[in-house]
C-alpha cells in the first residue's frame, strides 16, 4: 500500500517573476494526539534535511503533550539556536484523499514517536516538520519534483527495490571511497 500526495503550491514573491517553475513544497496532512487528540489537522512539511519531528509549543498544548524536561536540547534552525523539548505522541497520517479543510479526515497510518517542541519559537512557518527520526524511519518516502508528488511507501520498500542499507543500530560495513 502506498499513498501519493500532491505537492502544495505557494506563490513566489514578485521578484521571482523570471523563474519559470512553480514553488512547490512536499507536504502531508497530519494529526497529533498526546493525552488528547488535537482538534485541528496540520499541514506538515516533509523535510529530509531535518533529523527530528518538530512542532511549536502551541501544538503541544493542543495535543495534550507533556514534553519531558529531561529531553531538552538546543538545535540550530532558521538561523538561530532554539531550545527544544521532546515528548511522546501519536502521529496520524491523513489519506491523500483528505484535502485541506476537509473536516472528516481519513487516517491511513498512525505511529508513536517523539516530537521536539520549540520552547522559544512560537510561530515557525510550519506547524509540524516531519524529519528523519519519527517519519523517514517509518516509511520509504519517494519525492519527485517532476511528478510534483511525494509517495509514502512501506518501510521495506527501499530494500526490496534498491541495494539494502544497514539496519538501524548496526554498523555500516559497506566499502568507503578512498581517493
Amino acid at each position: 500500500m502506498a499513498w501519493s500526495y500532491d505537492y502544495t503550491p505557494y506563490d513566489r514573491p514578485p521578484e521571482w517573476q523570471w523563474h519559470e517553475k512553480a514553488l512547490l513544497r512536499p507536504t502531508v496532512l497530519v494529526q497529533l494526539e498526546g493525552s488528547t487528540p488535537a482538534p485541528e489537522t496540520f499541514v506538515a512539511l516533509v523535510d529530509s534535511g531535518c533529523d527530528h519531528v518538530l512542532a511549536p509549543e502551541w501544538v503541544a498544548r493542543l495535543a495534550g503533550a507533556d514534553p519531558d524536561p529531561n529531553r531538552e536540547v538546543s538545535i540550530q534552525i532558521a538561523g538561530a539556536p532554539r531550545r527544544v523539548r521532546f515528548g511522546d505522541l501519536t502521529l496520524k497520517l491523513c489519506s491523500p484523499a483528505t484535502g485541506i479543510g476537509d473536516a472528516a479526515s481519513a487516517i491511513v497510518h498512525e505511529w508513536r514517536t517523539q516530537v521536539g517542541f520549540f520552547l522559544d519559537w512560537s510561530d515557525p512557518p510550519y506547524s509540524v516538520i516531519l524529519g528523519q527520526c519519527g517519519f523517514f524511519d517509518q516509511f520509504t518516502v519517494v519525492m519527485s519534483r517532476l511528478a510534483q508528488r511525494l509517495t509514502v511507501e512501506p518501510a521495506e520498500f527501499h530494500d526490496e527495490h534498491y541495494p539494502p542499507g544497514p539496519a538501524e543500530g548496526t554498523p555500516d560495513l559497506r566499502p568507503t571511497f578512498v581517493p
Binding site: P9, W16, E40, T41, W58, G101, D102, A103, Y126, S127
Partner: protein
C-alpha cells in the same frame, strides 16, 4: 481542495495563519496562538491550520 484554491487563500490571507474547514477560511489571525484561541472561543473543530506567507517575505528554503 484544488491547488488554485490554495493559492487564492494564500493571496487573500497573506501574512496570517488560517483555519480552513469545508473549503472555506473560517478564521485567520496574525499568530497561531491567536488563531487557536479564536477557534476554541467559536467552538470550531476539525479545521486545517496553516500559515500563508506574506507577499514581501523572502522565499523560505527549508526552515530558513
Amino acid at each position: 481542495m484544488e491547488q488554485q484554491a490554495i493559492i487564492d487563500i494564500q493571496r487573500k490571507w497573506a501574512g496570517t495563519w488560517v483555519a480552513v474547514k469545508d473549503g472555506e477560511v473560517v478564521d485567520a489571525r496574525p499568530t497561531p496562538d491567536a488563531l487557536v484561541l479564536a477557534l476554541r472561543e467559536r467552538d470550531i473543530e476539525g479545521a486545517t491550520v496553516f500559515r500563508c506567507p506574506s507577499g514581501d517575505e523572502p522565499e523560505l528554503v527549508g526552515l530558513g
